[in-house]
Symmetry: C2
Subunit: 198 residues, 2 copies
């Protein structure tokens, strides 16, 4: 997750407004403040790898094992999906993804399989078990910047490690078309994420 | 996650010390405070269902599909594992799980299968896709309270929904023995969780 020297040297033109949300709804009754993390771009419009995504709100893990996809799943293999916590807080209240929402899909390989379907047996049973991280895909909601793809931008930060420090937006035919045609709500696959499917 | 009237009526004797940690290591350079959530017990020693676990730090999802386990996996089916964030912060610094660490394993069924192995095909490929939540298991580190099971207590909050509001500790032969014999580090399955396997 550390962003290297090259990234630090680029000019961030679309500066981040780190808005502070007031969380009055925490269960323990103590209101807290939380900083909303918004997307950061380079001068030429590349998205910087979002920071601290491992501490975001996890929403679900579709799993397409390589062994069930001719050895080469389009997204190998676990798709661990997170939403930026400040945006999630807004979503819980409004039912809408606010501008600047970031969804982070970290790819993660399974541990080596023992069976033709890629599964293995561990004390908890036969199935699939998380292995090394394997790159990431990221979507960002920005109705103006990504108007050509219905308001969301799609980025790939490698399907291997290390993750790229920055990424160019993908053409509509590479990612957006599928989200537009099949994702349940506002180009997000809420049909797989009970926390977002309300 | 809402705890009902019965729970509210019990006496919480092992009161929670909500320690405040100082997070000087956040990447944006702004130190923040975070409340550490510690286990809460009833007067007769039952653990209350931990609060706000969906906003804890996610570490991984072993998946044991029912279809690969004679229709009845021991833990059906996704095991989405979280660690309480304040304890994780300590763990990152010390490499040790501090007293009071809570690990939360939410069970989640897969969406209905289309193949004998329980898999289905979605636009991202053939595999397994998250469905309804299905109860939870929780472990708590407390060297004195759970000395009989090597310092960790094991609790089941149902393998169906809704989750139980509280749970009694399990006997050694039900959970602890397997963690003690096969989990990589301090009864935790760090071999499946890269974030914790350092």
């Amino acid at each position: 997750m550390r962003i290297g020297f090259r990234t630090a040297a680029v000019v961030v033109v679309s500066s981040v407004v780190a808005t502070t949300l007031f969380f009055g709804s925490l269960k323990n009754g103590n209101a807290q403040t939380r900083t909303r993390y918004l997307p950061e771009y380079t001068a030429d419009g590349q998205l910087l790898l979002p920071k601290d995504f491992h501490e975001w709100v996890y929403v679900g893990s579709p799993l397409t094992p390589n062994a069930l996809n001719d050895g080469h799943a389009g997204f190998p293999e676990y798709h661990n999906v997170y939403i930026e916590p400040g945006s999630y807080e807004v979503y819980k209240k409004t039912g809408q993804f606010p501008e600047g929402t970031i969804l982070f899909k970290e790819l993660q390989l399974t541990l080596p399989g023992e069976n033709p379907d890629g599964s293995r047996t561990e004390p908890s049973g036969r199935g699939y078990f998380p292995g090394p991280f394997n790159g990431a895909d990221v979507t960002v909601k920005d109705s103006k910047r990504f108007a050509e793809t219905n308001g969301w931008g799609y980025f790939n930060f490698n399907h291997h490690e290390p993750k790229a420090p920055m990424a160019k937006v993908k053409a509509k035919g590479e990612c957006a078309y599928c989200h537009i045609s099949s994702a349940k709500k506002d180009e997000v696959w809420t049909q797989f994420y009970p926390l977002l499917d309300k």
